[in-house]
Assembly symmetry: C3
Homo-oligomer: 171 residues x 3
């Protein structure tokens, strides 16, 4: 998918709204797990064959395929989650996500849902102020799963080119 | 209620969504009154026996029960609102709230609604830049009231440990 | 309309919610076009006779009628869009909007919809950090158009009095 250009939704308004509600609810759960620091639950939001990529918008603009974090398959996501939850060499911090401006663009023939969600990630280092850590847009492909969704592909594309401190946690 | 751990919603999706809509609408009204500086209207969003607490996440983590602001009962909320609206000893400022990521966790047998909402409070001092004043999560217990809601308990738990200037207004 | 005082919605809850959904969806599209930098599409969100005004809250408080940007009619909006898209004398930047706290206040006899939406505009200069560029509230009058909306009047009233760099793009 082309992730740079503005794209109009191909969906009927009532379908787009119903799917938007699902995406909003999914993202609230996803972010609340990360904000609670329960990173070992993070891979549960993905399909077995999911792709996760955290990358800068300028990398996307330059056509660079990888990024700051790149994981293919739930196994790699679990590896990452476990390694972070066992690592204590980075400064303790609180994360807080605020999502908004959800747009559901398409539903493919196989049912996959293509959506965009803007996010702000605030970070507070212990004894420090709260700072705007990362801001950007999730470019997602979801599959339906029971009454909810799972991520088949999430590209978290952040505008921020200068990051105040290390990115340890997923976004 | 345990306010640290991540908790899965116990509600059916359609119930959770209906209540989420109510909570979103409630918070938009609540915040718009504060953003307009009409603080004397603030207590009207609470039940007579409501509890309001504004506290840091690190206080919650340490098990400290009180916080920066603690009020039990509408009388204390009114006292606070009146005293702020009559005080002019602090620098004039604009407040702006942006809420997101609403999650409705439970509806109790008596109908009380347990919900979480992330918030960002931006503050602009006159002749100063806009700064990220506080960011955190409302931990709420609502009761239904007519077609809307009232707060029975609101814990506004902010991540921010270093606050750029005094917290005068409620959040 | 008085844009300073807090105002209660005159709408039945179910009407207010239905219109809120439309406003949220409209704003997500509007902002995504600006965030994509496709400014030549910006005038398409307005009626032919639309009024657009970008101004500081302190100007509104002081009763000043104009503002940083003032355009009456789609022609002026198109002029502005074209002139920006052809100008390369400002530093390249990424914009990211996050909207929230939508409130639909009234629906007039002619069907016009009066609404408020808080917005945060983050800006990232190339090789710079992401900064909180502007935060404020859209004071809008919409008309229905097919299954969606068009802006008849948008007053983007920002709290921010000190702006870190020039406002080039519309908000």
């Amino acid at each position: 998918m082309n992730i740079r250009e503005w794209e109009r939704s191909s969906l009927a308004p009532e379908t787009a709204r119903e799917l938007r509600m699902l995406v909003e609810e999914f993202n609230s759960e996803y972010c609340s797990v990360l904000d609670a620091g329960e990173i070992e639950k993070w891979p549960e939001f993905f399909t077995d064959d999911a792709l996760y990529r955290l990358t800068a918008r300028e990398n996307v603009d330059a056509g660079l395929p990888v990024g700051l974090v790149y994981a293919e398959g739930k196994g790699m996501l679990i590896d990452r989650a476990v390694s972070i939850s066992r690592t204590q060499t980075f400064a303790p911090r609180y994360n807080l996500h605020v999502c908004g401006n959800v747009r559901v663009l398409h539903q493919l023939e196989n049912g996959d849902i293509i959506a965009r969600t803007n996010f702000i990630l605030l970070q507070t280092l212990v004894d420090g102020p709260t700072s705007l850590h990362l801001a950007g847009c999730y470019h997602d492909r979801f599959v339906t799963h029971g009454e909810g969704l799972l991520i088949k592909e999430r590209q978290a594309i952040y505008d921020t080119t200068v990051i105040a401190n290390d990115v340890v946690f997923p976004v």
